[in-house]
Symmetry: C2
Subunit: 321 residues, 2 copies
């Protein structure tokens, strides 16, 4: 008997998640294993040992009696964790350097855009106004990163290198050289009080849903050079209270927002975010993943697992990430 | 007798170097010291203990018999070092890290904006289009930096850290870890051929005037993920042939341009750069020096010096920097 098959359950959304692209990549890196792009006609659910998934439907993974490992092809596993029928097998998050690097590109770009007054400068250009305003240096700006996993730690490192004062907040205690680390709810307020530009990279769990709300925004630093504080959310749409963001932008509690994620995606055409002058909107493309690198990562993990080794980046069901 | 006076020898150039601005700042941070903006009528050269200078004329500093320290308010001290009549007192560089860091902020921001398709994404937002396009990673993009002095080297280092393939070109041979270094006219073409995003930080000399012209743009790489190549000029306006830039943007030789400097500044209201959809324009504010921060720094150094402490960042005459 051959090796157990790998099932691909990749449900698009954007063109970047074309199932065909993933199938081709997995065929290449698992040459002696059957790779099934589901739905498929001719297969026995019992032959599936592994599933590599992106946004599977709830219940979809329950139909494989011999499933050993589930690989989520992105960083966030909130949708999977919400599936009560999810088989009790290890769930692995991708943590490839490609994903980390792309998220850092996004975070650094958006922090710099707000720091360097891009919204003002683009408006000046449109109005043909040569009107440089006072520009403070990066070392006068406190960036605060919520979520200090692999993504947050790497972004913090580059921001620090550029000169920003960087702090981070995470659920449990972390220590990062040169980054002021806060943890737990009791330290959240102190973290917010010193933060001019807030970057949210938290996983979405029951604890973090709508954590980005008026109550939190009101605690951010209003006395920094940036003026009204800025929020950048590249985590999950469910982390933000969208009505609060809009109201806080309008009443000056927030100065600006960069949003890559939304409660509903694609963002409906009538959303006020599209046209809000203080919103920099991106279509959930902060950290697209590279099928090349991720398929290799999954193949490597399967090989190691079958040789009796340990899986990496297994989700802790208790924490939810 | 009061404290020795501080002489300001600030010879403008751009509006950002207004002597009046510096005088006001120094008056504020040295409240109990006479601050003289030279040339001035009513003063005794012997009362001058300190000089804070920007582009002083050769010999200008030789006229103060009691001079104790010279503070240079800009990046390079090469002009000062070439002044054979320069008094043999400590020469302190104050602006280097601030200026360097600000230029790196600008360069990293604009490289990332073009890399991450910001012109496209802002247009999509205006049109309420949720339409992510394929996003290549930084390690697929070759950034080329013309000018590998302190500014270019620092920007190169951060871009490398973010993941870009970084090369540099300079007049004379340079070596920077992890950066492919080209030098001299004979190697210029090879440098351009591998460059997707070109960053120009060259000084303006007879050799470099209008170096950014059609001939040069035509040699840039057209086969990278960025597509048509991008030029970013944060050096001097005189480095660019402005008619060539516009024509090359229009015929597709260039895909986009970030311009901080122009032949005429302020840019005239009828310049086509203001409204060109492929131009990201900033009002010569890439690397403002912060009179606030620098004047405070100088005041702090003088205080420490008079209390018997050591000066920071004293130029080593043997090294020349």
């Amino acid at each position: 008997m051959g090796k157990g098959a790998l099932a691909l359950l990749v449900h698009g959304g954007t063109e970047n998640w074309s199932p065909e692209r993933w199938k081709a990549r997995f065929d290449e890196v698992c040459p002696d294993r059957r790779v099934l792009q589901l739905p498929a006609a001719d297969f026995d659910p019992a032959e599936i040992h592994y599933a590599a998934v992106w946004k599977p439907d709830p219940g979809e993974l329950a139909g494989f009696p011999n499933l050993r490992v589930i690989f989520n092809l992105g960083a966030g596993v909130d949708a999977l964790m919400a599936d009560s029928s999810l088989p009790k097998v290890p769930l692995v998050r991708v943590a490839v350097s490609d994903l980390t690097n792309r998220m850092t590109e996004y975070v650094v770009l958006h922090v710099l855009m707000h720091h360097r007054q891009e919204l003002y400068l683009r408006a000046s250009q449109r109005e043909r106004q040569w009107a440089p305003k006072f520009q403070w240096p990066a070392n006068a700006v406190s960036v605060g990163i919520m979520g200090l996993g692999t993504l947050g730690a790497n972004a913090a490192d580059v921001l620090k290198r550029i000169g920003f004062r960087v702090a981070g907040w995470s659920r449990s205690r972390r220590q990062i050289d040169g980054v002021e680390c806060f943890h737990g709810r009791p330290q959240l307020e102190a973290f917010l009080r010193r933060t001019d530009i807030l970057v949210c990279l938290l996983p979405l769990t029951a604890d973090t849903r709508h954590i980005l709300n008026r109550d939190l925004f009101a605690k951010l630093n209003r006395n920094g050079p940036v003026g009204a504080p800025v929020v950048i959310n590249a985590g999950r749409g469910g982390l933000q209270d969208e009505a609060d963001i809009l109201a806080c932008l309008d009443d000056g509690t927030l100065g600006a927002a960069s949003l890559d994620v939304f409660a509903r995606e694609p963002l409906p055409p009538d959303s006020p975010f599209w046209t809000h002058p203080k919103v920099v909107l991106t279509p959930h493309n902060a950290a697209d993943t590279d099928a090349d690198e991720i398929s290799k990562y999954v193949a490597r993990q399967i090989e190691r697992f079958e040789a009796g080794g340990a899986l990496e980046n297994v989700v802790d069901p208790a924490r939810g990430y």
